[in-house]
Symmetry: C2
Amino acid sequence: MFKITTKQIAELANVSRSTVSRVINNYENVPIETKKKVQKIIDEYGYTPNYFARTLAGKNPNIIGIFLADINTTFSSNDWIGINSPYNMELISVIVNLLKSYNHVALVNIITDIKELKNLEHYFLKRIVAGGIFAGFPYNISELEELARKYNIVLIDQMISNDGNDNLKLVNSDNNSGGYIATKYLIDKGHTNILHIAGDNRLSSIQRERGYKTAMKEFNLEPNIIYGMYREDIAYKITKNYVPIHKPSAIFAGNDIMAIGVIKALKELMFRIPEDISVMGFDNLNLTKWFNLDITTMSVSIKDIGENSVKLLFEEKDNYSICRANLIERSSVAEKMK
Amino acid sequence: MFKITTKQIAELANVSRSTVSRVINNYENVPIETKKKVQKIIDEYGYTPNYFARTLAGKNPNIIGIFLADINTTFSSNDWIGINSPYNMELISVIVNLLKSYNHVALVNIITDIKELKNLEHYFLKRIVAGGIFAGFPYNISELEELARKYNIVLIDQMISNDGNDNLKLVNSDNNSGGYIATKYLIDKGHTNILHIAGDNRLSSIQRERGYKTAMKEFNLEPNIIYGMYREDIAYKITKNYVPIHKPSAIFAGNDIMAIGVIKALKELMFRIPEDISVMGFDNLNLTKWFNLDITTMSVSIKDIGENSVKLLFEEKDNYSICRANLIERSSVAEKMK
DNA sequence: CTGAAAGCGCTTACAG
DNA sequence: CTGAAAGCGCTTACAG
């Protein structure tokens, strides 16, 4: 393998560089004979076109930017794992692999300060990337929204009202219906006194909470909500304080990490799960199984999110996609005892 | 922000494009006056050079390729998290952030089949990337070694004997001394009957095992090794079967995931940790703390690995770096009772 | 110190 | 169907 250009391929094949280019780009108007002859030389020498030259000459770049926020807006604790969550890695992995089938590669950027957004425009303006996928950003960032309206950008879990007549591309998790399904499931099992330990002011949390409220209201049950900040230790404390007094028969934790704290506390309080009290999580963290914590939970497939993002990037027809959360029935929820 | 080129900057500043280029690239031979004048226009219009043009014209690309293997060589189980481990995300995060300070960005590739390595050369040959970092690959892949000898590539945890006179760039974890330190620590606590649950045939495992053996030998203790395949469930079974019969006073698990299985089994066997039996892990997984598992363990800082990789990529002087594992004292190890 | 010109390796109207 | 030529937006010897 060495450096070889269209010029040399052209000479070897006795055609012009134009024709070589046509073969490379699979244009219609070149006879099968010529095509074969040129392709043979290309294969023989293992020629691949120079990426920078073809992009400069006007071809679309085959790079997609993945922009992940690592901005600690909500927490200040040591529990903040931010960017290092397995979630992000799975997302990258899904996207990168899918991009392969579109002959694209991924440029990964990690944004630690919202101000950096201003310097990102050149990636799109100068066509360094053909498109972008943004994930993990706080809400109501006008710079982000502006960028997304101008270029080929997909926003993941960035709930902007999409009125349909703009070209914003959005991929969202359906946390709302997820919260509803989780709560309804508990109600169907006969539970009426259900505590919801919600997360914080992030939209995912607000929506899960809304789903909970909708379901409770539907069945004329009184909602009880306490905020656990998506933290294991806070959920633990809440459980310790709340449960002995109010005796709920089920707890719906806003995420699995809090469910872990809930379970820890319940065990210390000598409650059996699910016989004495049912626990519902959200997220389907795969690490819970390592600990024999068979938590019934809600799962939004990251694969779905990644796949929908890539599709939206390349396909014109849609510009919005919502990924439903599915109930994962395990053994932390049971029928309420009479 | 709109499309603007050197040509227009040149006109606006009343100089030639050559001079504009000299200012952009911070060349010496341009008087401060001219420099200021040109820079002002550049700032005013928010001009940034076209990346493809400057690379095509001979400038080094400012992209570094990160190539992560997602090749399931050892396992076939559902426990295989492969690429999705938090380890990889932390590595990417460290590298990307460090790259920023060198004005470089990261192109992330995930290799699912070793054959793909053959098609990777064009990244380097065509200078799409200025260098590469490879992690997670199996050993003795000749294609990888060949590539690494030809281009600016850093291999992470890819133990090739580096005889010093070639230009292979290697960053390794010191699993050997890590295994030794862990074992020595147990011995210093008075333990003599120490079981080592090793991983598999990966080098990290072999080296941790070697460190264990060295320490045991040094103190004339008999080594006992069983292979747990780095899996939680297997370590669990081993503990269940082995401990009641052979009554070790300490178990050194080859990684934290196995230590979790060990602890689960010990609890079921009604052993107290660390009063009855001490448990030592390896890796310092941050998730263990969520479960009140205060495992004493060994930690190789991923930050070190990432930082050393980036340094090796950009600096000429060194071509080898080894990252030591540090003892993280927590509460799963105690003095042996007399 | 500075500009005109060549060149990097492609693609694509244009003309035939 | 195919080639000559212009152009993408830079950088860099070269000459002055």
